[in-house]
Symmetry: D2
Subunit: 282 residues, 4 copies
């Protein structure tokens, strides 16, 4: 086993920071802070189109949305599947957005990669090594969420599985870890942002929606993430959070997202970065 400083994921193995690029021009790891937004689940053509139009206008360049949902209970909504992917792709294309969506099963990787620009490995699957290997080989960038009780070292080793399979395009996404206090859904670990920037050349995203589980905390924690140096923020947005099929309590309305985007631009500017111009997603 090579020593940690020889691992592909460690800083020093790349001459410079890795830039992960999507076909619509979105670049993770550069000067601009990337905004990813969209609903937890794709529910209908109208829902995803309304959301895409709103978040693109507010500066988001990547559309998120789940079609295969990993749910704690087998009785909970499991997603629209392939049809959801098709709706997601169409909405993104109408607004020149990239698409990121989760894949759960190694047998679905090829199909999901046919619709998505970036494959998300969810928190429950961070150490699903069969899935990591298969996803790595699909030729698309990977969004690797932190396991909800994974140490930083375990997370980096999961990324290493992708890198040694020949895919250098990995973005790490902090989404909160489990703690002893149930006041919030998870405990968002903002400190991993500067820590990862020391330890690895890969870009770092923060998801304050899952990280807190509380819509009112999403704006301040998004600002905190950017102030700490995050390369991207992922936010759940739904046109009608009260009636969302999943994760309503942590979803912003389109208006709240637009307000957040303006404030993010101020904080990004304060630390010498920028967010994309409003209305110009790419």
């Amino acid at each position: 086993m090579p020593p940690p400083d020889r691992h592909l994921v460690r800083r020093g193995t790349a001459a410079q920071r890795t830039l992960v690029k999507l076909p619509n021009g979105t670049t993770f790891g550069g000067d601009a802070v990337v905004l990813c937004a969209g609903p937890c689940s794709v529910e209908s053509g109208e829902q995803i189109e309304t959301t895409a139009a709103a978040v693109a206008a507010a500066g988001a360049s990547v559309l998120r949305g789940g079609a295969f949902k990993p749910r704690t209970s087998p009785y909970a909504f499991q997603g629209l599947g392939r049809n959801g992917l098709s709706l997601l792709r169409s909405a993104a294309d109408r607004h020149r957005m990239g698409v990121v969506t989760e894949v759960l099963d190694p047998r679905d990787v090829e199909m999901v990669a046919g619709f998505a620009d970036m494959l998300q490995i969810g928190t429950r699957n961070m150490q699903n090594f069969a899935l990591l290997r298969e996803a790595a080989m699909a030729g698309k960038p990977i969004l690797l969420k932190r396991g909800f009780a994974a140490t930083v070292d375990e997370w980096l080793m999961a990324a290493e599985y992708i890198l040694i399979a020949g895919n250098p395009n990995v973005v790490l996404c902090e989404r909160g870890v489990r703690s002893f206090d149930s006041t919030t859904r998870n405990l968002l670990d903002v400190s991993v942002v500067p820590l990862l920037h020391e330890m690895t050349h890969l870009p770092v995203m923060v998801d304050p929606s899952h990280g807190t589980g509380v819509a009112r905390l999403v704006e301040p924690m998004s600002l905190a993430a950017v102030a700490a140096g995050a390369d991207a923020v992922m936010v759940e947005v739904h046109p009608d959070p009260a009636h969302a099929a999943s994760d309503g309590p942590q979803s912003l309305t389109p208006e709240q997202f637009a307000s957040l985007s303006r404030k993010l631009a101020e904080v990004a500017s304060a630390i010498g970065r920028r967010v994309p111009e409003l209305g110009i997603a790419v």
Copy 2:
């Protein structure tokens, strides 16, 4: 979504406790405390045969051994694969033992089920729902390990995925959870044994090897598990722990396992249960 008390996994939905049986006669959930033992990884024919002979003689009726190993690092030993399964099956058959082994990939389920009597879902895959569904349909009993940071409710919901797929033969295995104290590898939660016996009709196993990560703690924690009512204990045994390919520090020698088995019989008797007679595995 049905209320919790209507879930299949909850006590009351079965007229009596579920008994999970293997072809060699091993029964989980009855009067006898089942002993599962074997190495972390199958390493060679000689290693698995030596171990099987010793643990069978000491009262174990189920042989464990990993052929597909989920390892944090991609550089660590990943197991012998299909060849390991074949060696495991042969050794078990020579000693009239059942076989339990882990499956990692839904595409491997059918193949692994061709060798094993019981399919293990490991701690990292407790919420790998694609794997749970595929394993459930293979027609073999499932050993469902607790996720290392899973709540009891999440664990029971993972079992529910298996039960609603039509497979009623699930054994739940506590193997330690993650805590703030790194003195031991995990924190073995013995209290889930009586708690689960209140909440579900499924048998409960305890794995003190992974639960502590320290060979010297395996005996006292095995005794504690049986005193608390565990239906089965799983112990890692290796003929030469110092040279094991994985998990050496938590593995017992065959002699230590034989000593443990005798003490387990005493404690089981003290609470009105029994362990199988030495040398008569089934």
Copy 3:
């Protein structure tokens, strides 16, 4: 700072295991497993007398009961204070029991030591070093509960504060630690029993009442603690748990305690230890 192996608390600094003795003859750390029992709070003369009579008859040799209660909310019952201590002492004397009770304030140590045979340092005060020093100098044995999020090393260092103040009579009490799962009040860490027996010469007690917070789990977890080698068990007993001023949901009735005591004797015997004869506390 001396290296860990030169600390007073570490095994090897005492030629043999420390025996902690109370005036009524109770010895912690010897062959016999000591039973401590009593209500969370002393509520009245009748309540404590009824409880003392019952638990003494069932084999308990130490009476517990709180007179100064550390409560999360300032509006919760804070204990009877000095009057509670007096009632506790009288009840214990009538049944030849020792008394252990908690002290919260260094200014109260002398007064509490006038009534108690053993001073308890509670979980919230494990690192209240001013209190540790003052209690150490009162000339009575100390029951040092583990902080609810303390590592084993921090716990041993807290004991070291007492030992270097010249008081060698410390019993360590595991009472559950905080975890991510709120199914039980705390997560009882039974594995510290054998771990501490390796690391220190001090006796180890387990408190399954606070450790689980659920009365139905107290019996199986007491059995587990003794099977793992605990030198003592502390159990909350109340004549009418449903109307207890504090901790009712985790308190046993006197009848439940008597049943537990009989089963503890069986398990203790299975591992070569004993509990005191019923009705003969000392």
Copy 4:
């Protein structure tokens, strides 16, 4: 027991946000973000004077420094005691700074209050109720650090102990909580900043030095705290971190603190707040 919404600590019981003021004009809870800085321990007159001069010039209006140190090991440096307090007071006075310092023992409260403008209750003593009551009655504002494994509700109830003793001047300080990942010393919970602003009228401070334990993470996490709405930041600064008596690895040099202060001003401005002018502490 009154319902939570009737507790003094809850928002709604004050017509407006509480402003906590120190004699030098420092106000916690207003528009300005307060900077508290200084060494972990007061070590000498020269050390504290050098630090005070530097941090005052960089915008800090409150000088921190420990004279009574709560240390895990009894062999670690325990602080200079009363002499340290005197040195701390003199240095602060020379630079028109306020003084905050920790008190450990209720018997020391009056003496410490003779030197300090604000009494700190440390993380290990958050539920040391005897100390909370005594400190509350000294007539000085209280800095109440979060227990390292305390829930938000427990923390607010600890503040309630102070408020019902008649002292309304409490500042809450997040300093990191214990987690399963030892990569950082603690896990700094930035999300409590906006959460507390919803739940209580009390000002909120963040301590990224203890919160991370790593000097390089102090700047980004200070920026994150202010972006999330923190009313104050506390930073450990030492003229020679490599030779500090305690907490060197997490201490900034005076130059690093000056750089941090400038960046904090930018981020504060981006969210509509300000930090005091450089060189004008009050």
